[in-house]
């Protein structure tokens, strides 16, 4: 099966949050409380166990004294090298035939290790349920030949869904066209070269500001990269313990 994903273009986002609603409704997710955060129109604040699409709103002043919004529909990135998947000790988190990263709720035993392992802070464990949850890329809809609920609902096609290679082509063309028009457009996580730490995201973005403005890490990487030296330190520590035992028993 072809690897599919999302290309989210913030220049088309109108901040309607249809994506958030569609996701909650299709997946029958519980609400997160109806609170006003005071953070512009962002009353969701972050992705979590029962929030799998989150629209960011950050007001900024433009060079000519006007006000602009950084609006973006954030989602699980379904990384090529996923921190949650590599950390999961039960094998509950798997790579599906669509290339997405999926948490099997019937296997997950709620150890919570995937939560700090995600460089984007996506997956979360619900204390009352006990298990970890995140965006499934609408696995059930994909298996039925449908596109994910958020992409279907998005009125401006800011959220595009499709085969990853096609999305990457369209994204490059779109970014180039916008730059010609004077927009500071850049792609985020589009492939392995752009984001070596995750080896590319299956849900990547076109943004018009720094990643931090959208609460995205500028240079994320799957924690497993470079952990070899940590294991070496553990082996050295273990050898030290055995050595200490030997030395002190003389």
């Amino acid at each position: 099966m072809r690897t599919v994903g999302f290309f989210t273009d913030v220049t088309l986002c109108i901040g309607c949050k249809a994506c958030e609603v569609a996701c909650k409704q299709w997946n029958q997710l519980p609400d997160d409380g109806f609170k006003l955060t005071g953070m512009s129109y962002d009353n969701t604040a972050a992705l979590g166990a029962s929030t799998w699409r989150h629209v960011t709103f950050k007001e900024k002043t433009t060079g000519t004294g006007g006000v602009a919004w950084n609006m973006m529909s954030d989602v699980c990135k379904h990384c090529e090298r996923a921190g949650c998947l590599e950390a999961c000790p039960t094998g509950a988190i798997i790579r599906t035939e669509h290339g997405s990263v999926y948490v099997q709720p019937d296997v997950c035993n709620g150890c919570g290790y995937c939560v700090p392992a995600c460089p984007f802070g996506v997956v979360e464990k619900r204390e009352d349920d006990g298990r970890a949850y995140k965006c499934t890329l609408c696995y059930d809809r994909l298996n039925g030949g449908l596109e994910p609920a958020c992409a279907k609902a998005c009125p401006t096609d800011s959220i595009e869904f499709g085969p990853l290679d096609k999305l990457r082509e369209r994204a490059s063309a779109r970014a180039a066209k916008l730059r010609e028009q004077g927009v500071q457009a850049r792609l985020y996580g589009e492939d392995e070269t752009a984001q070596p730490g995750t080896e590319g995201l299956h849900a990547f973005f076109l943004i018009t500001d720094t990643p931090e403005a959208y609460n995205l890490p500028p240079d994320p990487s799957v924690p497993t990269k470079g952990v070899g030296r940590s294991w070496l330190a553990a082996a050295a520590g273990a050898a030290g313990l055995l050595g200490l035992a030997l030395w002190s028993s003389r």
């Binding site: 960011t56 392992a117 802070g121 924690p223 070496l232 035992a245």
Partner: protein
């Protein structure tokens, strides 16, 4: 083409073509800003997204740092078993088995679905320190438990080797995350955990009246050095604040001072006191580093700053 306004008084008029006969057209505007006494300064350019965290803290309860202490203690005890004989060996064997079992119980209690704890053994996944730890713990406690029934050198050596890894893999567990302070110190924490495990054992032996002086002095000195090494690595990466500030800073400082006091007490041959101080130091140290992880994950600047370099 739309002509841009040519007035700067907030009226947005083009004086060349405007018909200025409105009721407010006669107001002489000297300073546009005085009309908005309730307005605040435009939001300072913030380097974060409303100071919200970028990554998420581990949702662990106190069971996990408690396991770090118990597993470390048990693993260190196991390393001494092949080097000792008779009554001392049997006592160490019991300490190792009880500590490792209590540690396993803590881990199971921390799970969101404790009855599914056996799912940890569905896979053998080297990328996951937590999975590797499950296997290490199983081998260590299995060999240790069997060794209590069957007197076998092979079992003792197996338990000792697995035990030594049991005391240190937990450092890799912390480092294999996106938490800034753990990530930055991931080559130091396993070494510190090794020393802390030895110091935990040394202190317990002192409390039980079975002190091992050389072991104790070396382990406690190494533990203090290990903590300094962790601090230095964290500061070098610019993420050392949780080890100085807040609740985690308090726990860390307390652990260090208790560790120094424990070392001094051992040196002065006040073993029972040294044991109590050393145990407190080791336990607090484990809780400190886990709490520091929570503070670090909740600080967006700690995630952004190292990645901007």
């Amino acid at each position: 083409m739309i002509t841009p306004p040519t007035t700067r008084d907030g009226r947005n008029l083009d004086r060349r073509i405007a018909d200025e006969h409105g009721e407010g057209a006669g107001i002489e505007v000297q300073r546009p800003d005085v009309a908005w006494p309730l307005s605040k300064e435009p939001e300072q350019v913030s380097d974060t997204y409303y100071d919200l965290p970028v990554v998420k803290a581990a949702p662990w309860k106190g069971y996990v740092p408690a396991y770090f202490y118990l597993g470390g203690l048990g693993g260190a005890a196991a390393t001494l078993i092949p080097m000792t004989k008779g009554r001392e060996a049997r006592r160490l064997h019991w300490i190792a088995s009880v500590a490792e079992t209590a540690g396993a119980v803590c881990l199971i209690a921390d799970l969101g679905k404790p009855l599914r704890f056996l799912n940890m053994m569905r896979v053998f996944r080297p990328t996951s320190p937590m999975n590797m730890g499950t296997w290490i713990l199983s081998v260590a406690s299995g060999a240790g438990g069997l060794g209590l029934l069957v007197d076998s050198k092979a079992l003792a050596v197996t338990a000792a080797t697995a035990g030594s890894m049991l005391s240190t893999y937990t450092g890799v567990l912390l480092g294999n995350t996106a938490v800034p302070v753990w990530r930055a110190t991931r080559r130091r924490i396993p070494l510190w955990f090794a020393a802390s495990s030895a110091a935990s054992l040394a202190s317990l032996l002192e409390v039980l009246g079975m002190p091992r002086r050389r072991y104790s002095l070396a382990a406690k000195a190494a533990e203090i050095a290990g903590m300094s090494a962790v601090e230095h690595a964290a500061d070098a990466a610019g993420v050392g604040e949780p080890l100085r500030e807040g609740r985690s800073g308090q726990l860390w400082r307390a652990s260090k001072w208790l560790g120094l006091a424990s070392f001094a007490a051992t040196a002065l041959r006040r073993e029972r006191l040294a044991g109590v101080l050393g145990t407190a130091s080791a336990v607090l140290g484990r809780f400190a580093i886990v709490e520091a992880g929570r503070a670090s994950a909740n600080d967006p600047r700690a995630t952004f700053a190292p990645q901007r370099r």
